[in-house]
């Protein structure tokens, strides 16, 4: 009896989570994959014809947007690291008693709708707005200069919106570092730069790794920033998927694009994890 229970209980315990995963992840993904090889339209219905050409057509038509999404995602992630690491470092080591206040301030923008925050950048970056207007009338910028409706604005918006996802995991990693390790390094005649490079940076790498995952994946799939801040050549793959489902009502193409995006991101993430696997990162840290 006891043995039987011991065998069953773990399965019972994972049942709620497992069901959740099956109902809300596995089934939708299967429907998505099935849909991606169908043909038809809304009025006559879609039928399963195993039309794998949907994938080839989708790639032919929209590979530019795929590449652009990965490029924007990469640039925004790197910018997030460059901007976010110093912030996390400062809060972790110089924040003192006010650490939680600073973290709260970092999260404060999240209390405002994501879309509203992005729209406010539209006003800020407007051709004759509060930023560019004075610079133009002072003759510093040419009259036709613009930021809005360019790739720069999109990458800027992405960086702005996802920065906290980079800062928080780095902060957590830095916070856990024993300050005495840094003191010990300096006692052993390491300069401050060397102590950072040999002690702090390696120990914070797991946080950085997590930050890259948390930032790059949503950024590459984002569609709000390109729609609000972008111009004619800045469409990302998320915008295309949205249009295929809602405007064009070409569900198979939309499904094929969604699955391709998912596959590309998963493969990318797994090879990234392989190359910089968490174990190795910890090893680096232990050195």
């Amino acid at each position: 009896m006891k043995r039987w229970r011991a065998a069953v209980v773990p399965y019972l315990l994972i049942l709620p989570g497992g069901l959740w995963l099956v109902i809300f992840f596995a089934i939708p993904v299967i429907v998505l994959i099935s849909l991606s090889t169908q043909q038809g339209n809304i009025v006559d219905g879609f039928s399963q014809t195993f039309h794998f050409a949907n994938y080839a057509n989708a790639w032919d038509n929209y590979h530019d947007q795929f590449i652009r999404s990965l490029l924007y995602g990469g640039i925004a992630t790197i910018l997030c690291i460059l901007l976010g690491y110093p912030v996390a470092y400062w809060i972790a080591f110089r924040g003192g008693a006010r650490k939680s206040t600073y973290l709260f301030l970092l999260l404060l923008p999240f209390f405002v709708s994501f879309v509203l925050r992005t729209v406010s950048w539209q006003y800020f970056l407007s051709d004759n707005g509060i930023l560019l207007g004075p610079l133009k009338s002072a003759g510093i910028l040419p009259e036709n200069f613009r930021i809005l409706a360019t790739g720069t604005a999109v990458v800027g918006g992405l960086t702005y919106n996802y920065l906290p996802f980079m800062v928080l995991p780095i902060y957590v990693a830095l916070e856990r570092i024993d300050p005495r390790l840094v003191e010990a390094a300096q006692d052993l005649y390491a300069t401050r730069a060397a102590a950072f490079r040999r002690v702090v940076l390696p120990l914070s790498l797991p946080g950085l790794f997590a930050g890259v995952l948390l930032t790059f994946v949503p950024v590459a799939a984002d569609y709000v920033n390109a729609a609000i801040l972008g111009g004619t050549g800045n469409t990302m793959i998320g915008n295309i998927i949205q249009d295929e489902f809602l405007t064009v009502q070409d569900y198979p193409t939309g499904a094929a694009l969604s699955f391709m995006l998912m596959a590309i991101l998963l493969i990318g993430m797994f090879s990234y994890a392989r190359a910089l696997g968490t174990d190795e990162v910890l090893e680096v840290a232990a050195r």
Partner: protein, 401 residues
């Protein structure tokens, strides 16, 4: 087509989840029930005979598309005793269709008794799918008495079997006179290199297709696939020459007011409302080559719980007094011609800023189109399930960039 501010925002948040639901729900099914008008009518007779009056009605409409204090609805309740639930749930046709179609396809009620749908792709799909109830013509007494002739004979719904208009509007060219000194008259002004980087075009495929067709001198209503390809080519050329700044949804109106966009495709009522509410001096015209006229229509979705009350409310808005109150609030084209005189007399008896506003509405060339305007206004390209894929395959790449 005339969504109000920030609808794109809401759409984008809800968009992908709604799309995923749609995909899951209608992946395989989709029984088309194309009903010839005559057959639909006899089925309608049977349906309406079986209906009993009910005490409530639920109305799904677009945002900012009714008198702000809902006095017209309160009057309806006072007169009939029918309680109205008014929901501003429609941000645009495509996302609303994506929401209700899976429900209707699986045999569920949407919860709405009246909905307002533009005469585009989704309109014809709802009809083709049998997802709307043919109206009870015997209950449309005010409509038949007061609606203008043009609104009783519409190519997209002959005989008003499934719909009657809520309001109409036109798509033309708007400009900010601060940046555009010579008033545009031609569609070619949207292709003018002098405005490069400051021209706004609409992201809506049906809207942009019409303007591409006007540019090459073709009437959208009778256009062929060859015309579509030529129109798409000229639109792509406009984009690659750097003339187009962005393909806009409703947000074009802000871009135009701020000066990011100098000249743009625009909806007539938006420009009127923006000038009224923000004090801007934006201008609007229907280009001489042609503009688009669209109509938002009241329809009754299948499985509606209160169809009789819905019919009463639909016909309620065809009383000239109600139609006038509505037009004074929304500034779009009314299907009831008698309204103009009522607004004029309202203006005569009003005072202060109300007076100026009402006078502006009563005489606005955007609300009261001239015969010459009407002659230049064309409907959307008629899209059916047959040519839908071709049409979108040609025009979607223009805005997808």
């Amino acid at each position: 087509m005339n969504a109000r501010y920030s609808r794109r925002a809401a759409l984008q948040l809800g968009g992908l989840s709604a799309a995923a639901l749609t995909a899951a729900a209608c992946g395989v099914q989709g029984a088309a029930k194309q009903q010839p008008a005559a057959q639909a009518e006899s089925a309608a007779d049977k349906f309406w005979k079986a209906q009993k009056p009910t005490g409530t009605v639920t109305f799904a409409n677009w945002a900012l598309y009714i008198d702000p204090d809902h006095q017209t609805l309160k009057d309806f309740t006072a007169k009939t005793g029918i309680k109205v639930t008014y929901d501003e749930v429609i941000q645009d046709d495509s996302s609303f269709f994506a929401k209700i179609h899976p429900q209707l396809a699986s045999g569920q009620s949407t919860g709405y008794d009246i909905m307002v749908i533009t005469d585009g792709l989704e309109f014809s799909e709802l009809v083709a799918l049998g997802e709307v109830i043919p109206l009870d013509q015997s209950m449309l007494t005010n409509f038949h008495k007061y609606a203008g002739a043009a609104y009783q004979h519409r190519s997209f719904d002959p005989g008003n079997v499934y719909s009657v208009p809520w309001a109409s509007g036109s798509t033309g060219i708007a400009w900010n006179p601060k940046y555009v000194k010579t008033p545009p008259t031609s569609i070619n002004d949207l292709w003018n290199p002098a405005y490069a980087g400051h021209v706004g075009m609409m992201s809506d495929v049906q809207e942009i297709a019409n303007f591409g067709l006007f540019k090459i001198g073709v009437n959208p209503e009778t256009s062929t696939q060859k015309d579509w390809e030529a129109a798409a080519a000229t639109l792509k050329q406009q984009r690659s020459a750097g003339i187009v700044r962005q393909y806009y949804d409703q947000s074009y109106i802000n871009a135009l007011s701020k000066g990011d966009v100098w000249i743009t495709m625009a909806w007539s009522g938006d420009i009127f409302q923006q000038n009224l509410s923000a004090g801007t001096n934006l201008q609007f015209t229907v280009p001489k080559e042609g503009g688009t006229i669209w109509t938002d229509n009241m329809m009754i979705p299948k499985y509606a719980a209160n169809p009789v009350a819905a019919m009463q409310l639909i016909d309620w808005y065809y009383q000239p007094r109600m139609a006038a109150t509505l037009t004074e609030a929304i500034n779009y084209i009314t299907p009831v011609p008698a309204v103009q005189d009522i607004i004029k007399s309202d203006a005569a008896s009003a005072k202060g800023s109300d007076k100026a506003t009402l006078e502006a509405v009563a005489t606005s060339p955007l609300v009261w189109l001239s015969a010459a305007d009407y002659a230049r206004l064309k409907n959307y390209v008629p899209i059916t399930s047959k040519n839908q894929a071709t049409f979108y395959g040609i025009f979607q790449p223009v805005v997808a960039g």
